[in-house]
Amino acid sequence: MAIKDAFDITQTDRTDTLVTNLDRWRSDVLAHPGSHIALLISSTVLVAPIAMALLLTTQTTAQVYDLNYVRPGSLETMYQNYYQVLVTWGFWRLTLNTLFVAGASTLGAIGLSLLAALAIVFYDFKLDRVTFYFILLTLMVPFVIRVVPLYELVVSVGWHNTYWGLTIPFLASATGVFLLRQHFKSIPVELVETCRLDGVGPIGFLRHVLIPMTKGMISGLAVIMFIGTWNAYFWPLIVINTESRQMIQVGLRMLQSAQMGTLTQYNLMMAGAVISLLPALALLLALRKNLLTTMGLKL
């Protein structure tokens, strides 16, 4: 059945000729016809809505309303739709805002998690276990139990309608500390010993030993954190109330009021959805290896 090497995300077997490749495909499809068919159908079902969304972004509003018009519109229309969303509806600004906020929170959260994991794993102090559980327990305190007082707090320190309010409260990450701790614990004791004997200080140790050895996991973590912030909807919806400062997902709500006469401009809403999906999706696809390894998949 499943051979581990067959998980071929990195596998580049150059000896495989096209013919033997096709042969293997055929025998595998014959051996597990049900799985292949089921996977083809389900992939299609999962991807189809996005394909249809893309199709609608090539149509004019009138074409979207015409139920008999199911073919692509024109490239010209497509260009105009995206142009309108990006420029007239200010999505270029929202994109930059969200890139900034998601980027800053990701960098900050990774930085703080590295420092915390460094202390927990490599420092000999009494409360290391207690501290670790104190951090881990936060996973059981979901956002909803604290959202009301958190909002009050953010308002009272004047971070309401600012990016401080969107970033600072989320800079600490239990997932980050937990995963980095696991990884740090796998670093050979001898290496740590050598560094200590050579008089390498903690920050030097972090910069020159730990970070280079943890690169893959750090980028996987970065994907998880970036996607999390990029996709956030509830918190920016209540914290930000100036349209030009808003995050892109909430921008989709503003786009719902796009009207042309009595018609709602669904083609523009679709273009907005595509723009809001792209950066997160591109990051996932580009760094999928790191993401999957970080989440425990052995490749």
Binding site: A2, K4, A6, F7, I9, W25, H36, L39, S42, S43, L46, P49, I50, M52, A53, L67, L112, S113, L115, A116, A119, I120, V121, F122, Y123, D128, F134, I135, T138, M140, V141, P142, V144, I145, R146, V148, P149, L150, V155, P169, F170, L171, A172, V189, V192, R196, I227, W230, N231, Q249, V250, L252, M269, M270, G272, L281, L284, L291, M295, L297
Partner: protein, 296 residues
């Protein structure tokens, strides 16, 4: 202590931990506790001190008919989205596990929704399943013969929100399940493989027990998420309607706290939402703990 503990300065350790701990105390533990306290106060406007009413407000909301409906809708939603996500993810991950060719392509084709924002899923489905102009609505109507209009029919609206939520939460579960399936030792795999046993029987009686720790983990995470997910779907598509059919507790909380600015009322709802989610999550851990030990 192992010799991995290379440094022994307590104050340096404290300094390294300070930012993380401070943020958790100020922005997580403190607000979480304060929520319970805020529930004791009845407030009219935001920022107002409020009057102490003790447990009365907790009682009033429990007796509030609109909220009772919201609790029932949420429990239904949690069951559908938690088990729906888990079952579909198990099937997809297992199918990928069984094939030898095309694993990578299939994997990417099914895990990409991990990157999909809830608001995007909501917008796309709102339009594709729109009662009047949706590309998928007309086929649904002609196939099933029913009138497709989730602005009128509560059940349809409920399923729209639930299926949309499953769509964008699948990816996470699939990644963990793939890791679990591919972590099954090959030797174990060979000794348990029996000729002529259908694939689905292998899945149910051999593989699922083997990966039960991952299943429990996902069940707990999905349950915690199940009560808080779906917000973007409801806010962008159904607005809680029709007639409260999709008025999830998280949406009612948003309405009470951030539309009507009734802080006390919203705080009470936070406490209830948290209580249900955590009780269910802990119950799953306790219950499955026995099964994992004796069953595996």
């Amino acid at each position: 202590m192992s010799s991995r503990k290379a440094y022994d300065s307590t104050w340096q350790a404290a300094l390294l931990l300070l930012p993380t701990i401070a943020i958790f105390v100020i922005f997580l533990y403190w607000p979480a506790l304060r929520t319970i306290w805020l529930g004791f106060y009845e407030t009219q406007f935001f920022g107002q001190q409020g009057t102490f009413v003790g447990l009365q407000q907790y009682w009033e909301i429990l007796m509030w008919e609109k909220y009772q409906n919201s609790v029932i809708v949420t429990l239904k939603f949690a069951v559908v989205s938690v088990f729906g996500t888990l079952i579909v993810s198990i099937l997809l991950a297992y199918w990928i596990y069984t094939v030898e060719r095309g694993k990578t392509a299939y994997m990417i084709a099914v895990i990409w929704p991990y990157a999909m924002p809830g608001a995007v899923a909501a917008t796309v489905l709102l339009i594709l399943l729109h009662p009047e102009i949706g590309m998928i609505s007309a086929p649904i109507e002609s196939l099933t013969g029913m009138e497709w209009d989730w602005r009128v029919h509560g059940t349809q609206a409920f399923w729209l929100v639930a299926l949309g939520t499953i769509w964008f939460t699948l990816g996470y579960d699939i990644i963990f399940l793939l890791a679990a399936f591919h972590g099954i030792p090959e030797s174990l795999n060979e000794t348990t493989r029996l000729d002529g046993v259908p694939q689905w029987r292998m899945l149910v009686s051999v593989y699922l027990p083997l990966i039960s720790p991952t299943l429990l983990f996902l069940l707990v995470i999905n349950t915690l998420g199940g009560f808080f997910g779906g917000f973007a779907m409801v806010d962008l598509v159904t607005n809680g309607g029709p007639r409260g059919a999709t008025n999830l507790m998280i949406y009612q909380l948003y309405e009470s706290g951030f539309r009507n600015f009734n802080i006390g009322e919203a705080a009470v709802q936070s406490v209830y939402l948290f209580a249900i989610a955590v009780v269910l999550a802990v119950a799953q851990i306790v219950f499955s703990d026995k099964r994992i030990h004796y069953g595996g």
